[in-house]
Amino acid sequence: MKHLESRHWIFGGLFLFVIISMALNVNFDMRVSPETKKMFTFIDSLPAGTTVIVSFDHEASSLPEIRPLALVVLRHAFSRDLKLIGTALLAEGTAIGYRLMNQTAAEYSKIYGNDYVYLGFKPQYIAAILSMGESIPETYPKDYLGHSYQNLEMLSTVKNYDDVATVISIADGSMTTHWIEYGASRYNVTVTAAVTAAMMTTYDPYLASGQLHTMFGGLRGAAEYEKLIGIGGSGKRGMLAQSVAHVYIILLIIAGNIIYFRTRRKRRGVS
């Protein structure tokens, strides 16, 4: 115990608070932010049978935050009978996206090839976005499972972005920027996004200018969306832990500043 420094106590405190709050089952009545509401309304407004690209543009490291975001989007889209095309601009997102799509498709009894397909990963994201604007079948001659593009019934009418209502980029980094800069600017495809909380301010200018149609994000965004679709999930469960961690950090900031000002005053008194 003698060797423990202040940071060790701080680490231990955070660990305990997060563990305890994850174990508790407390329900908060959360206000839904306008941006989450806009995303929900947009997907809700798409007619049944509309084709939508869901792009898993993230790495495995952000999975705890990305997974609830992806699940709410997929559940909402499947419940609205939208036709989903899964892609991935990052190799790590490929397998995760495939699993999440299969999982949610099973919940809504959707059939692969008729209601959704997974095209998978294409290296060189800029080239992938641009070439899909020209021709999706040429960019992805085969899907993730090796089926020929031409043999997939759902894709028979999908040639390029003109046949797609929107691209939903589920991202933890700057990949959505490339969808905006190359997909939206060059081919006028409507780009929407579900991003991690840390990335939201990065996309604010694009959102304000209308280049990004709508966006929601973070664990809070996922929890709000879960409320809108009426299905609880890991977003809501994680929110208590996140809130407690935030309050803990605020208390640490206040404590650190009190110590700092007291020490400064003492030093001034001495001098």
């Binding site: 206000r31 961690a245 935030h246």
Partner: protein, 207 residues
């Protein structure tokens, strides 16, 4: 001479891709698609190979020197094992590759990323001090944002969320826009300098 050839190739493809991007002619668009689908992928595959070779060389050199030996060995094992799994058993479904990805790589990456929370907590106590007026403003903005991204609506007044939204929508967005415009102009000028041969550092040192 080799530098001159590289510069000519750079200029030719830079100018060509620039022209192709804006053209609407069907033949040109078809050429554009061929370049993007075939050539870019080939270049990507070769750069990946260069990266792997470079990583192996550096790791082997460090192992011989005894520098971070256990970590380097584990890295090389990972680099060898994953492609072997992928080649022999594929990368889909319940293959060993997917097992390694889901139960080794993904949890490890998430763990490393989650460690950030602990460092943020420690740094907030030790370093986040209101030493000056700008630091105090930053501190206030951080606290507002933290409170607004929690689910404490009943406890935290609405004005806090409104204030956090204002910070995000005004000063934060203004700074973001400035950065984005700066990046855009910087990328444009650097690209033009490279294509026109003014910027030649990418060619390496002249012998």
């Amino acid at each position: 001479m080799t530098r001159r050839i590289a510069q000519i190739v750079c200029f030719a493809f830079g100018a060509l891709l620039f022209a192709l991007y804006f053209s609407q002619l069907p033949a040109v668009r078809s050429l554009n698609t061929t370049i993007m689908i075939d050539y870019w992928q080939i270049i990507f595959a070769i750069t990946l190979l260069v990266g792997v070779i470079s990583f192996v060389k550096i790791s082997v050199t460090n192992i011989r020197r005894g520098d971070s030996r256990p970590y380097r060995i584990i890295s090389l094992i990972g680099l060898t094992v994953m492609p072997v799994f992928a080649i022999f058993w594929g990368i889909k479904g319940d293959s060993p590759f997917m097992w390694m990805f889901e139960y080794v790589q993904a949890p490890m990456q998430s763990t490393v990323f989650a460690l950030l929370a602990f460092f943020v907590a420690s740094a907030s106590f030790r370093g986040f001090r209101a030493r000056s007026a700008p630091a105090a403003v930053l501190l206030a903005a951080a606290i507002l944002t933290l409170l607004s991204r929690s689910s404490l609506e009943g406890i935290v007044p609405q004005i806090v969320t409104d204030a956090a939204d204002w910070v995000r929508g005004n000063p934060s967005m203004a700074a973001r826009r400035a950065i984005l415009i700066g990046i855009g102009l910087g990328s444009l000028t650097t690209s033009l300098r490279v294509i026109l041969g003014i910027e030649r550092t990418w060619l390496g040192r002249e012998k």
